[in-house]
Symmetry: C2
Subunit: 430 residues, 2 copies
Amino acid sequence: MSVENIQIGLLGLGTVGRGVYRIITGNADNIKRKVGVGVEIKKILEKDTSKLRDLNIDLGKQTTEIEDIIDDPEIKIVVEVLGGIEPTMNYVTRALEGGKSVVTANKDMIAAHGKQLFALSEANQTDLLFEASVAGGIPIIRPLKQCLAANRITQIIGIINGTTNYMLTKMTEQGSDFEDVLREAQAKGYAEADPTADIEGYDAARKLAILASIAFNSRIVLDDVYVEGITKITSTDIAYAGELNYIVKLLAIAKETGDGIEVRVHPALIPHSHPLAMVNDVYNAIYVTGDAVGDTMFYGRGAGEMPTASAVVADVMDAARNLLHNVPGIISCTCYENKPVKDMGATEVKYYVRLNVTDKPGVLASIAYVFGDKEVSLASVLQKHNDGNNAEIVLVTHKVREKNMQEALETIKQLSSVNAIANIIRVEGE
Amino acid sequence: MSVENIQIGLLGLGTVGRGVYRIITGNADNIKRKVGVGVEIKKILEKDTSKLRDLNIDLGKQTTEIEDIIDDPEIKIVVEVLGGIEPTMNYVTRALEGGKSVVTANKDMIAAHGKQLFALSEANQTDLLFEASVAGGIPIIRPLKQCLAANRITQIIGIINGTTNYMLTKMTEQGSDFEDVLREAQAKGYAEADPTADIEGYDAARKLAILASIAFNSRIVLDDVYVEGITKITSTDIAYAGELNYIVKLLAIAKETGDGIEVRVHPALIPHSHPLAMVNDVYNAIYVTGDAVGDTMFYGRGAGEMPTASAVVADVMDAARNLLHNVPGIISCTCYENKPVKDMGATEVKYYVRLNVTDKPGVLASIAYVFGDKEVSLASVLQKHNDGNNAEIVLVTHKVREKNMQEALETIKQLSSVNAIANIIRVEGE
């Protein structure tokens, strides 16, 4: 390929698209020197002309017809920052079929249709790069695929949803309630008007499916992931966790165990001393353990115009370098195994349990008896008096099979002295 | 190139060499599936036969003559884990001249002779990869060269010497003195019999020179780096820092400023809330700020057999993939600029100052007057009574030019009520 600029088609000039445009134009000289060839945005698929005007972009670059990009043989790289599944899938599919390299920030599409897209990319010998789809600007896809490639990855624990991490941080710092913090996050633009995908854990679950697929060389999809959001977390639980030297985070966990891959997203208590405990506000981090490297962590901003664009443009640079040297697709999909996903009931974790009980002698003994009967052993117990008649008991268990724990709780619910199981939260990172 | 295994010559079967051998043999199948071709160690340059016997290695692989590797056309990748400058430089030079790709863990060699070696590698279109030379298993070289390549990096702050971080952690946790902790670190094998390179900061300075060269696209060498070790840090300073909500770390700092690149290694106080504050024991971390990505951090084990081997083998896999696709050297040296290094006197930082003074009225006023006269403004003051006659004053300044600070201290030393300037430590990360 000649050393003229490599032409790019940009799908979407929203938040991330704008950042991509800014970096590619503002940092053009450095990009050219690092890659060995310049990159240039030739066409932008965007209906809203004002978005081009805002950036003083030549309106000749604007198009509303995908064919102007897909059918242009000069365009070698398609950058997809539209989001959503359709019509994006259609566009990306046609770009790959046309032999174009694709860079995408679209976690929904990769988590749902990765298998099909990577097969297409391989068949057409193109790059399909997606660093920005997980944890925004934090380098994690390429580190897993290259830098840690000599390892068998044993575990990933991520804080990969900025909205919920911001909310839990505020709840921890201010003792505020979930609903108040959600409204605050929405006002600041950190949470969407419909916050379901974030607060119910689905956003994190999609990202986890992508990370786990790479880490364990086996395709994991959203349906494989056990998902539990943060809506039941109260400032009371956070305060008790603090007394026990824990902090509450929404964790995305993937572990390779002897009997299958565990993939789960749920709130969890982690020790204050764990590196993930200091990941606050909208920051993300991914804690990765490999058999050779031991524990590592990758920390940074998981979203936002410029951090996400940083990851997109890094992928563009790699795709351009590969085109220059005629090796697009040099690093392809690595899901060459087919490992079973472990049943959630078979996972073993520690639990924090908060119970509302009638404050009379023998209550703790009856609870402890039930746990013991189900082979749930207790690591610590806090007893809190609410008023003369009622008390709260906070327990942390040792590691126990999920199934045994659920059975024990069913029985405890029936005890006459137990008014309610106020909350149950898993404990990780010990 | 055919898809038979790519042959490797391993220089040295010491700690890291052993780890490299273990990963390459133990994880051979995964390596082959990820790279598209297998890798195999054909020859090992090692005098000590027992080292091969310990790993049940076929003694036919042993050689004591470098020519058996350099002159073998079947060997395409040379892995250098001998360390030291000579004869290593000679071996690596000849390997590159012979068109072989080289993977090295040798920070001393890269920091001192990187320019020459990268020129050779480029002239011969080979890979010269060195991820393991900085921060052991933590991915940092490739993230800087690829994942964050779209950014202008503005700052790097690293904890990149495990020995001193272990020592400072123990001094902080146990209140122990430097000499005791050094002996403990030596007993545990974390510090060498001659600990100079670690405790005086030269090891960190070499790694910083490598990181800064990549981050700022301009060659930085050891001589450019201002270096100050941790030998003057006392448990008293650490305790006072704690009272002021700081922790003491040996930091390797590189900043791009309007008037040149700052590169310095010295102990510093950083706020408890800074992500680097939780990096304890032998762990390392590199905090990188880019104009697009914002703040990121890379954390993990900075040394040791398997973590370092993890980085070496990742490089081997990249080199092998590049050979398979006939693109060795696809990512070359990026020191295409020639930026000035800023004079240390012109840097601006905050300071912690501990003074032994005679406890009488007006002492603080006279000290404050001198600082004010040199445009050093004070952020906080702690006064500590030692006994009836003497007191300690602990000051933290706002940002001040190094030169002004040194002049102020010269004058303060002369004050009759000041018995000694007990310590001066820079403050970073605010």
